[in-house]
């Protein structure tokens, strides 16, 4: 009996050692791969696949295996369960992805115990970074992309703005960030409207914009069907002809929504960290590879670049720890890391572990082929997250 136990123990030991020697490093990625946000999940996958296609599937002789887990809508409990499953059952050494803030928040308490770093590809609320020292983010925050708009608006001679945002966390963040930046630049927010998330008819909102006497409207809505209604209402109610300007962060004119927005979007000014049209050799290579992975040029959008750079960070972490599971060492290794991303020069802020990047002012323009694109017309270099700076 004792002997057989010993043999069994040895066998298990050998198996465990064997699996460690096989040397495949697993990366678990959580994102919305089905459901209403499937396009954003597809973009995660496109970014990851593009990175692996361009940079190889192994680091220092360690093969990388990516395991995807589907989280169709914001669901913190399920997010936590998926992360746990990835760590315990699949034995992933790195976690990545996460589209929604509450999902990211639910994972952070696990990281230390699991000895696993989390690289966030999208979730854009400043506070996530303060929840765990093992979180690194390669996307953006709403405050980061919105803040330059305050200066832009005053430079264009706008003194009074009405803000209209969707009534949920990121909308409130955008409202606050814009107000702060715009008032610092000498402007005045005359009214702040918070719109229900499921609003479909925006003409009453436009009537309010008109009645408020503001010279411009600042808007934030989650990308997708709502933005279409909003931009249409802006055009149809005659606000555009009346000369009321329109400012928004780039979520409103994400590339995959542009064909639907059509000519109505031409002339809209948005600020964002990435435009598919960004003119650089790195971006050309990226767009080519990611388009192949996503399956169509019109489906490529900003989450892909967050995922691409997220994979870069994970590769660097694997390089630094040489395949060993050491979350703190991995995170320390990428603090201050700087590289040229498809979106331009970026670096990981050593203190906040959030990405420092250029924010671009873009105008929607119509190309010779009749298609609209976001054209970058001004650069605000090396923007940190102002949302974190104040905390």
């Amino acid at each position: 009996m004792k002997v057989s136990n010993a043999i069994l123990g040895a066998a298990i030991g050998a198996l465990l050692a064997g699996s460690a020697m096989a040397d495949t490093i697993k990366v678990g990625i959580i994102g919305p791969f089905s459901g209403p946000f499937a396009l954003q999940g597809k973009n995660f996958q496109a970014g990851v696949e593009a990175y692996m296609a361009l940079n190889g599937k192994s680091v220092k002789g360690h093969d990388i295996e990516v395991i995807y887990r589907d989280l169709p809508a914001a669901n913190p409990a399920q997010s936590r369960a998926l992360a746990q499953e990835l760590v315990v059952k699949e034995k992933v050494q790195y976690l990545g992805g996460v589209y929604f803030t509450p999902d990211a928040m639910a994972i952070t308490p696990l990281l230390k115990q699991a000895n696993t770093p989390l690289v966030i590809f999208n979730a854009a609320t400043s506070a996530i970074m303060t929840q765990s020292p093992l979180v690194v983010r390669t996307s953006f925050t709403t405050a980061q992309t919105t803040s330059p708009l305050g200066k832009i608006a005053t430079e264009r001679g706008v003194k009074k703005v009405i803000s209209a945002v969707s009534d949920y966390g990121p909308g409130v963040d955008a409202e606050a960030a814009f107000k702060k930046a715009f008032e610092a630049a000498g402007g005045q927010v005359v009214e702040a409207i918070r719109m229900p998330l499921n609003t479909t008819d925006f003409s009453p909102i436009m009537q309010r914009v008109r009645d408020s006497g503001a010279e411009a409207v600042f808007a934030f809505l989650p990308s997708g069907p709502t933005t279409l209604g909003f931009v249409k209402a802006y055009n149809e109610t005659g606000l555009k002809q009346a000369g009321i300007k329109f400012f928004a962060p780039g979520d409103l004119t994400q590339e995959s929504d542009l064909p639907a927005l059509g000519d109505g979007a031409v002339g809209l000014l948005t600020t964002f960290h990435y435009a598919v049209s960004h003119d650089s050799p790195e971006n050309k290579k990226f767009v080519e590879a990611a388009t192949k992975a996503v399956g169509g040029a019109d489906q490529l959008s900003f989450p892909s670049v967050g995922a691409y750079d997220g994979m870069h960070v994970i590769y660097k972490m694997i390089e630094a720890t040489d395949g060993k599971q050491d979350a703190q060492k991995a995170v320390d290794a990428v603090k201050g890391l700087a590289w040229t991303s498809p979106r331009g020069p970026v670096s990981i802020d050593a203190e906040t572990r959030h990405i420092t990047e250029n924010i671009y002012l873009r105008e929607v323009v119509k190309g010779p082929d009749g298609k609209t694109t976001n054209k970058e017309i001004q650069t605000f270099p090396n923007q940190k997250d102002p949302g974190l700076a104040t905390q």
């Binding site: 009453p204 064909p259 639907a260």
Partner: protein
């Protein structure tokens, strides 16, 4: 005053768009006693067909609407014969489960074939420009939606109250066995009224696309709104549906203008109040 007028006109346009989509559902629920939760899915199919016809094939708006209605009805006929016919007269729970299953299948299939992005239906120049109506600029398209709503309401009322088919339909609904015995081909009546309901959903989906944009989750996203209209108006009643759409459109639009921070509070508060006072809706028939 100007503001009141412009809210009123916005409310009217929104209400009429809702009416065109919902009246078909009201007919299936009131006259045929089928809780058809897949109604929005048919509106969505029509939107996709119209978008494909107008955007990818470059056909005109009128042709696109026509193709969308015909296409959706054609798709619905085998569904009616194979699936819906089994649930006529069955308990509501069976109907709800069956139709919600159909909804999810349709969502999956459209998502697979047409992709997850938003689809728009390009409007002809005459409908896409803003029109100055004196106190306000509104889109010509909104006027078109209002006109469509009025025509649909009048046409349906005439069909049900004044024509032979209407008499047969009302007889079939009240007592199918007796109508059958008197020589009314009830299966045909059911099939035709189902087709009319689907055709209206299709029309609503296309002309209402500016209010409720076409995307794969359309059917689920607006399901509650559609059901609310039917329940407030009273299933099967055309004047009821008109009243419900106008009232709910007005409450929703005014609430959004005056106090957008309250979200849908006013909309649902109104629904609760109305259902308390009129448990069968405004013009609901006693069962």
């Amino acid at each position: 005053m100007q503001t009141v007028l412009s809210i009123a006109i916005d409310a009217f346009a929104y209400g009429m768009a809702l009416f065109i989509i919902c009246i078909g559902l009201s007919l299936t629920m009131g006259l045929m006693r089928v809780v058809n939760l897949a109604h929005g899915a048919f509106a969505m199919i029509a939107g996709y067909i119209a978008s494909y016809a107008a955007r990818d094939l470059g056909l005109g708006y009128a042709v696109a609407i026509f193709l969308a209605i015909i296409g959706t009805v054609v798709i619905s006929i085998p569904l009616e014969r194979l699936l819906y016919r089994r649930i006529y007269g069955r308990p509501e729970l069976t109907q709800v489960l069956m139709t919600i299953g159909i909804t999810f299948c349709i969502i999956g299939i459209t998502n697979y074939f047409f992709g997850p992005t938003l689809k728009t239906i390009p409007l002809p120049g005459s409908l896409s420009q803003p029109v100055d109506v004196g106190f306000k600029t509104i889109a010509a398209h909104r006027l078109f939606v209002m006109a469509c709503g009025i025509v649909v309401a009048g046409g349906l009322w005439y069909l049900i109250e004044k024509t032979d088919f209407g008499i047969k339909l009302r007889a079939t609904v009240d007592n199918a066995a007796m109508a059958d015995a008197l020589g009314v081909r009830t299966q045909v009546v059911y099939a035709v009224s189902f087709a009319i309901a689907i055709g209206l959903a299709a029309l609503g989906g296309v002309v209402g696309a500016e209010f409720l944009p076409i995307e794969p989750y359309y059917a689920l996203r607006y399901m509650v709104t559609f059901l609310v209209v039917v329940s407030v108006g009273g299933a099967g009643s055309i004047p009821g549906a008109v009243a419900a759409c106008l009232l709910l459109g007005a409450v929703d639009t005014t609430g959004r203008y005056l106090m957008p921070e309250f979200g849908n509070f006013f909309f649902y508060a109104a629904v609760i109040a109305i259902v308390c006072v009129f448990p069968r809706g405004f013009f609901g028939r006693a069962q």
